[in-house]
């Protein structure tokens, strides 16, 4: 029940219904299959990044509570924005000892590299563990207090003098930036850095003017009074930032999430799938996971089975449109 109240307080009503239905049928089917060797937990990103931290956190929860009989061993295959991981998992079709932690490059990388031959709708869905959120950030040394002043400042500075930092081109931060530019009719110079943590630091060091970091990446600086969130790209305000408005409140329907899910290779048995769903459901309901979500401004969003696949497909199409409008794909 606690799970449900939490989801409700965050106010994510549409997913609530899904999470209740998903939890009810996935709990007791796990007995039929269990791993015979350590499970490869492939991470679509390099060591030390956000996705990597989350995967290792999950691994830690599994280990601490003994949720799995054999260890889950994280392996980073971050090459080519996750292209390497996608190819690897595709080639492991039918192997039940491989699972993969995904992020949004799960959609964008196959779209941008059609030659990869990866169709994510064929992968076996396990569970969506959370959705990470985005906020617009500026340094707290500026006088910019809200989005209106921000837009005015960007327009006044002009494209050449307003530097927006983010992760690689075509990745989440650049998509969010493109959405902002289109909505407010300004242009910025977009500078790609290696990871969200570096981006956050560049903002505090005043090498760039604004960012669209995840709350978790700016949290430390925010608490020290060094950075300021202007608005959130979510439907409702975040619990940890009750005073920060959403773009929707400001009259623009700007919503973007980073999904944090787990998938398995295509064609693994139903029993193996049920086993993993069981393990991750326990992780999802653990106190550690729920605390982490609330503290870091992530939204809970448990989703499994076919519903998860159709969610992936829907998001992939949304990203196809986004990338096309940016001119990144045809």
């Amino acid at each position: 029940m606690r799970l449900i109240t939490k989801a409700a307080t965050v106010g994510f009503a549409s997913l609530l219904a899904l999470s209740v239905s998903a939890t009810s049928f996935s709990s007791d089917a796990a007995a039929a299959w269990k791993p015979q060797k350590p499970v490869e937990f492939v991470i679509m990103a390099g060591k030390g990044g956000g996705a990597d931290r989350l995967a290792r956190f999950i691994q830690g929860i599994i280990k601490k509570h003994g949720f799995a009989s054999l260890p889950f061993v994280p392996i980073n295959k971050g090459g080519g924005s996750g292209a390497e991981a996608l190819r690897y998992v595709r080639d492991k079709a039918g192997d039940p000892h491989v699972i993969m932690a995904t992020l949004n490059s799960y959609y964008t990388t196959p779209l941008r590299n059609p030659g990869l031959g990866v169709d994510i709708s064929k992968f076996t869905p396990i569970a969506r563990m959370a959705e990470d959120t985005f906020q617009l950030w500026v340094s707290s040394d500026t006088k910019i207090m809200n989005v209106e002043q921000y837009v005015a400042a960007v327009k006044k500075a002009g494209m050449a003098n307003w530097k927006m930092g983010g992760t690689g081109k075509g990745a989440e931060d650049s998509l969010v930036t493109a959405m902002l530019e289109k909505t407010y009719g300004f242009q910025v110079t977009y500078i790609p850095f290696k990871g969200g943590g570096t981006v956050a630091k560049q903002l505090i060091g005043k090498h760039i003017n604004s960012t669209v970091n995840n709350p978790s990446e700016q949290m430390g600086f925010f608490q020290a009074g060094k950075s300021r969130p202007l608005a959130t790209f979510t439907p409702n305000r975040l619990k940890v930032f009750p005073n920060v408005p959403t773009f929707r409140e400001l009259g623009h329907d700007l919503v973007y999430f980073m999904q944090r899910s787990v998938v398995a290779p295509p064609g693994i048995s139903k029993d193996a799938q049920a086993y993993y769903v069981g393990v991750f459901e326990k992780v999802y309901q653990s106190k550690e996971w729920q605390t982490y979500l609330t503290k870091k401004g992530l939204l809970p969003g448990w989703l499994t089975g076919d519903k998860l696949t159709s969610y992936f497909v829907k998001e992939r199409e949304a990203h196809r449109k986004l990338l096309a409008s940016m001119g990144e794909i045809k």
Binding site: E40, K47, G48, G49, D52, R53, R56, F57, Q59, G60, I61, K63, K64, P74, I75, N76, K77, G78, G79, G80, S81, A83, E84, R87, Y88, R112, N113, G115, A160, K163, G168, K169, G170, A171, S174, T189, I191, P192, F193, K194, G197, T198, A200, K201, Q202, I204, G205, H207, I208, S216, M219, G220, F221, Q223, A224, K226, T291, Y292, K295
Partner: protein
Amino acid sequence: MDVLAALMDGFFIAFEPLNLGLVIFGCMAGLFIGAMPGLGSVNGVAILLPMTFLVPPTSAIIFLAALYYGAMYGGAISSIMLGIPGASTAVATTFDGRPMALKGMADKALVGAAAASFVGGTISIILFTAFAPPLADVALAFGPPEEFALMMLAFATFIGLGGDDIPKTFFSIFIGLVMSSVGLDIISGNPRLIFMDLPGFYHGINFLVLAIGIYGIGEMLWTVEQAKGDVIVTKVTVTVRGIIEALKDLRKTKKVMFMGSILGFFVGILPAAGATPGSLMAYGVARTMSKDPDSFGKGNIEGVVAPEAANNAASTGSMLPMLTLGIPGSPTTAILLGGMVIWGLEPGPMLFIEHKEFVWGLIASLYAANFFALAINIAFVPAFMMVLKMPFTILAPIIFILCIVGGFAPTQDMHDVWLMLVFGVMGYLMRKLDYPLAPMVLAIVLGPLAEASVRQSLMMSHGSFATFFERPISGTIMLIAIGLFAWPIFSTVRKRFRSGAYGAEG
């Protein structure tokens, strides 16, 4: 005096039986992981991170920090004994460490490396304890142009590492840089140089694959040939007196040790740089400072002491931006940072206020870890020497196997093992023709940092190179780098001019 009181509290935490036990265990484990070719501190910390969920956060970070330290000490061991750098931070140690071992002075090199690591670590922790908050601002002032300038400075120290054959040295740097660009172009987000469409190239060419290929496999093939089937037995004897003598001898190198420590610490606190450029620069500076620069690369103890002092100082230094700003100063601290987030601690300026016991417990345990790593390391010197006494026909296949397994472990991809064999064979063939290989290995480490920072800087300045000279910090570093680049060219030209054209090449 606040600092001292806090540090005392820290020591009480560090000397709790559980924490002290973890420090000792962490140092031991780190030493072995670091000494294994292929497994450095990054992999060690990443692999053992989830184990730390079983203990409280302060104990967990103490364990991992001790492991990090141990691995930095351990890295020198495989560099000296086998000539294979286990991690990029230990590359510079092979330049003189390996020749010393071949001359039968491995014990001196090992003791020197351990003592230098201790000095570097200690000086660095003292600086850390005293000046953490102001130094954090220095780290913040480093944007892409400053990072690029720093990379140029590191490259400038390469110049001395090549052989006499200038085109071959440059070739080696260029090919290393090209290999470093394989994989992904982070700026445009496009894959690049994916040879034969093999998915293994998406993750780029890992430094370790090249280093183990060239120094492990290539070097062994070379030695097999040189030995012509004979059994080499290195004559080594270790006595307690020998170790004490070796320690006494180190007094002569105190200037170099001190220089390496300070340099390593400052490079370490700069985000993105980490211990590798620090150790290289220390080696370069030691060589420049020396009265006898030609003895470097042939087994000069200063060539071991300088980079080892620097890489340990840098590993402590890189914890500074991690704790005060939440920015990793090195790949290993990136993982430690992940650990802190997982334990529910928020790295950043508030950490020093809200979690005093964590910060000071960690700092105090670094003092302890440093001491234990030194003691354990020296205690194991005789055991390491046993390895060198093994007949070559036993040692060689064991090293080959360690190379193969070590090459596989970081990425768990057989593609890298094959690539390593290719590099080994090519390295062997090129080495026979006097191609210097060290610049290639270093270029592959620094290449990605250099490329990303120069392109980010140019995007920020809209294509103007003036940005590197206009900004005070990057301008200063750039000028020093240019001076270093120009000096050897100037002096060679002068030497040649005096001794007649090309006379020096004889």
